[in-house]
Amino acid sequence: MRISNFKFQLPNFMKYLLFLCVLLMIFASFAQAQIAVKGETIWTMAGDPITNGIVLIKNGKIEAVGTELQVKIPSNYRIISAKVVTPGLIDAHTVIGLNGYLNQPHDQMALDGSSPIQPDLRAIDSYNPEEILIGWVRSYGVTTIHTGHQPSALVPGQTMIAKTVGKTVDDVTIVPGAMLNVTLGESAIASQGRSPGTRAKQVAMLRAELLKAGNYKGEPRDLKQEMWKKVLNREIPLLVTAHRAVDIMNALRIAKEFNIKLVLDGVSDAQQVMSEIKTSGFPVIVHPTMYRAGGETENLSMETAAKLKAAGIPVALQSGYEGYVPKTRIVLFEAALAAANGMSRRDALATVTIDAAKILGLDNRIGSLVAGKDADLAMYDGDPFEYVTHCTGTIINGNVVSDVIR
């Protein structure tokens, strides 16, 4: 590659020129990774919002955050301006990537109906990073999703945490086995005489699994037991979807008996057992604000998130599982409705950024705009929560991954 050597025929020379161009483009794209995002308002989610601020991005990480007076933009940085800048949004619980937008059997991979207890099912083995719905939520500013099996069986499988852009599951995954899904209540009652047919049976089956795993010594290898063992060793929490108060209390009772970690999910009846949830110390990923009330979710409220927050319970919002239309919700919109129903704008934004990151155990990497964290940002042309505001761009790991105006 001695480009000073010009003893070539013209076609060869052209080849070199082409090669040079490609090299230049690669350098250019590296240069693009050095970005300065200017925002009239920057919600860092680490302290007060900054007026007329700058976020410097270098090599996929946040280099500096501050006001225009504090942060100087180096000359080779690409400048992107936005009215409002927030950390990339985090959807604390979804099923997209396993379930797709077509809603046909071949793209619905979030539930295997062969058995009610399948802790060995890894989300990564079903995850399609190119699913249309992932691009859809990305274009509204969602940069990280906690996704997995759908809450329609007692133990439907594992969850994973991924960034919302990338070609392969390896490219996108942050945590391959984040939590183990458990569903209590009506939606995990099996039909036609199969187990579990009642709530009491659900709890009995879970206790039996946990008891058995307590005696598991690792030989011969058993994928199910290995997963339960991680739960018993408090390496991963159970993500328990429970809507009715009785189911929430069942979850807390199991956690106490086996000294395991929980993340409560859904919790439509939260307001009836608020002090019990608070005492347990477990965080909550609450149902989407606009979730449909009916059956075991009949008592849900648009104010549940606000009331949990007011009680001092760690709370994140989620897009949840949808069986029909919309095939996914968008946490930006769910947080907006929470802000319209009793939550402060900052707290509502926290449910889809820093507070979600904390519950997922990733607040050292994502969820706020702080030097050293991943450069995941969302940009808006106004208050992110207003219906008529647009998401003008999304940045993940320092790359502009969406610039459609949504």
Binding site: L133, M290, R292, E303, E322, V325, K327, L337, A340, E386
Partner: protein
């Protein structure tokens, strides 16, 4: 005891309104969005006996001495919202016996005490086209209702036309929902769907010809056929066809049927309207669209777009909105207009779509949809910009009666949800909260 007293109060108020003795009420200090005409910054809305008596600038509206004043302190008034396609009221239409059942009326299945009706009131909806489902080519007759309070029977919610008949349309569907391969006489393809619908409308044309031929000679009338009667009403333009359709080719099929049979038509959903907005405009057919948070969920809505509103607006077609409740929540109906504006629709047309456009689609443009003298006193009070997420509907009024008030605990419960919010009320008269089942902690 309370309930008897309540009925007594009702009787008195009824008696009063029969004699035309109701005092006029003036809502003052309001920002009024009349929909027809420019917004009025410092406006007065004057109502009496369920009708609008005056609407205009505070300096121009004359108030009589007996008027009751309601000071709104700068709040916003706009017409009650018109939902052109909803499934509130626990209704059901046709059964599995046949794909085309024009004789089936959703009227005969509605529960006037369903909480879904109150949810709609809390979202500012005052008039609704309640439809049967889309699992048939024709799942039956729809019903236009007003969300009045205190209904004990569905009759209390009906809207009557000039001939004294209660108003409603008829629901048709194409695309994938009515396809049931191998299920009796249901269609297995789109072409078959169209053929079956054409066959029935041709039969109805023949039935109508017999009636026309009989003239005044009752002995020559054909035997009564309830299905044919409903389709004849559609052919005569007395019963609007509300056609569920998603994909562009399916919409074109509907337009073809419309051209062949000349029925009054409202396109419902129209998920791919943005692809053929000019064709829809050329056919002079209105579209009732829906705002869904993500594409897909079914194959024929892969390309649904928030841009449908702006595309149709730019093409010059009439655009309205619907909740399709439970698909979207009646309490958040205004959100549909907000999202349409987000995608480029003008504020004016988005708000027009929530009100006047819907009134036109239901053939009620002379009675509802805007705040104008002589129209029904159907309106809502908002605490801010109707298209802001932070704005709440504070009051809903139907025929001059308050049917929702966010400051009343039971109504608040309906609006935000919570324990008991979805329990149907036994009696839901607002004069006594204690009579409201499910409203208590």
């Amino acid at each position: 005891m309370k309930r008897h007293f309540c009925s007594f109060l009702l009787l008195i108020s009824l008696f009063g309104s029969i004699l035309g003795q109701e005092k006029p009420t003036a809502f003052i200090n309001a920002r009024i969005i009349p929909i027809v005409g420019q917004p009025i910054e410092q406006g007065i809305l004057l109502i009496q006996n369920g009708k609008i008596k005056a609407v205009g600038d505070a300096r121009l509206v004359k108030l009589s001495s007996d008027v009751q004043i309601v000071d709104l302190n700068g709040k916003v008034i706009m017409p009650g919202l018109v939902d052109t396609h909803s499934h509130i009221g626990d209704g059901s239409g046709a059964d599995g016996s046949s794909p085309i059942q024009p004789d089936v009326r959703i009227l005969d299945s509605l529960n006037p005490r369903a909480t879904s009706l109150q949810r709609a009131q809390s979202g500012g909806i005052t008039t609704v086209n309640v439809m049967p489902g889309s699992g048939h080519l024709d799942s039956g007759q729809t019903l236009y209702i007003k969300l009045r309070d205190g209904a004990v029977k569905i009759d209390d919610l009906l809207i009557y036309d000039k001939d004294g008949k209660f108003m409603g349309g008829i629901k048709f569907a194409n695309g994938t929902n009515p396809l049931r391969t191998g299920s009796g006489n249901f269609p297995g393809t789109r072409a078959k769907s169209a053929a079956l619908v054409r066959e029935q409308f041709i039969k109805a044309q023949e039935y109508k010809a017999k009636i026309d031929k009989a003239g005044n000679d009752k002995t020559k009338l054909p035997n009564r056929d309830l299905a044919m009667e409903a389709l004849v009403e559609a052919l005569e333009g007395k019963r609007t066809v509300h056609f569920h359709t998603h994909r562009a080719d399916d919409v074109m099929t509907v337009l073809r049927l419309h051209k062949e049979f000349g029925f009054k038509l409202v396109l419902q959903h129209v998920s791919e309207a943005w692809k053929i907005a000019d064709e829809i405009a050329k056919a002079k057919v209105p579209s009732s669209i829906i705002m869904i948070d993500a594409p897909g969920g079914k194959l024929e809505t892969m390309d649904v777009s928030y841009k449908n509103g702006v595309a149709l607006e730019k093409a010059g077609a009439l655009v309205g909105f619907h909740t399709d409740d439970y698909i979207t929540d009646s309490r958040l109906f205004l959100r549909s207009a907000g999202l349409a504006m987000r995608a480029g629709m003008s504020r004016e047309k988005a708000l027009y779509g929530m009100t006047m456009a819907g009134a036109m689609m239901l053939g009620m443009q002379d009675r509802i949809g805007s705040l104008e003298n002589g129209k029904d006193a159907d309106f809502i009070v908002l605490n801010g910009d109707p298209l802001s997420v932070y704005t709440h509907v504070e009051q809903t009024w139907v025929d001059g009666k308050n049917v929702f008030d966010r400051s009343i605990p039971t109504d608040y419960l309906t609006a935000v949800g919570g324990f008991g919010a979805t329990t149907d009320r036994l009696v839901h008269l607002d004069c006594f909260d204690g009579d409201v089942e499910g409203g208590q902690e």
